[in-house]
């Protein structure tokens, strides 16, 4: 499956790692500064793992890769996430 999806598909993977499910939260791209809900990212579902890219500049925002006994979560392309209090 090579067609990209969007960040809605990240809800399942992220709900296992972060509370609450953050797909509705605003996050800022480290590269271009765009602030948008994580659900609006471009998501490649078998990259391998899930890779989310900025819809504005294509920079990699986040990646989730499953290994045998661990899940690797990279948020290297997100400089800030706005969390509800």
């Amino acid at each position: 499956m090579t067609t990209p999806l969007d960040g809605n598909v990240l809800a399942g993977a992220l709900a296992n790692l972060l509370v609450p499910d953050p797909t509705n939260l605003q996050a800022r791209c480290t590269n271009c500064g765009q602030v948008a809900p994580i659900a609006e990212a471009v998501v490649y579902p078998d990259a391998p793992g899930l890779v989310a890219r900025c819809r504005t500049c294509d920079h990699v925002l986040a990646a989730i890769v499953d290994d045998k006994d661990k899940t690797y979560l990279s948020l290297s392309g997100l400089s800030a996430i706005a969390l509800p209090k």
Binding site: M1, T3, P4, L5, D6, G7, N8, V9, A11, G12, A15, P20, D21, P22, T23, N24, P37, I38, A39, E40, P45
Partner: protein
């Protein structure tokens, strides 16, 4: 195809959410796909699944699954592509391509269940009458505050007065709530459908902030 799951521990869900279904082969190979929740009621969760002939998961769910089989599901999931009653009194435009109608049907049902009087309209693009999901349910929901406009892309029902063919920017403009009424818009379908429609909506003068999309993948 409609898949009805008994999930005694289901906590209920908001309209627009999905579940992840995970299949595990005897050799341990796993495949996970997302499916929107059409309706749920007291531990009974209804999905609407379109079979992609060369797909890994959907043919299994449509053809192989039998009553009594156990499936691994995770959900309800998603906090973005949701409609909540009472959230806003702006009108709502729903735009579905194919199985993308599933979460939008959930929104229309939630809107009716809440007796919410905000105006709802659905444009539903579908190949042929045989491909329509939830036709009876949508007809039952239709009324003064909810209308459905079908777009048949390959074949229309007998006696159909309209044209047959793909949605265009012009037909979208004439069947959807006008930009000056500031509708909140939910678009769901294949990635190409969602992106084409979202681009047209921007052209027509809707604001990017008012357009929520959910992309299902595919062409």
């Amino acid at each position: 195809m409609r898949l009805v799951l008994d999930v005694p521990t289901w906590p209920g869900n908001e309209a627009g959410t999905h579940v992840d279904v995970r299949l595990t082969a005897p050799d341990g190979y796993q495949a996970t796909r997302s499916y929107s929740v059409a309706t749920s009621d007291r531990g009974r969760v209804v999905l609407g699944i379109e079979e992609l002939p060369d797909g890994e998961v959907s043919p299994f769910l449509v053809r192989e699954v039998r009553a009594g089989d156990k499936l691994e599901i995770h959900g309800p999931l998603g906090s973005y592509f949701l409609w909540r009653p009472g959230q806003s009194n702006r009108p709502v435009q729903l735009i579905a391509g194919g199985s993308g109608v599933v979460p939008l049907h959930a929104m229309a049902a939630a809107h009716a269940a809440a007796s919410d009087s905000t105006l709802f309209r659905l444009v539903y693009s579908v190949r042929t009458p045989a491909h329509v999901y939830f036709r009876d349910e949508l007809a039952a929901l239709a009324g003064p505050s909810f209308t459905v406009d079908y777009v048949y892309t390959r074949q229309a029902p007998p006696g159909w007065g309209g044209t047959v063919g793909r949605l265009t920017r012009d037909s979208l403009a004439s069947t959807t709530i006008a930009p000056h009424e500031r509708p909140r818009i939910f678009v769901c379908g294949s990635t190409r459908f969602a992106e084409t429609v979202a681009a047209w909506l921007l052209d027509l003068g809707h604001s990017a902030r008012d357009i929520l999309t959910e992309r299902y993948g595919g062409k």
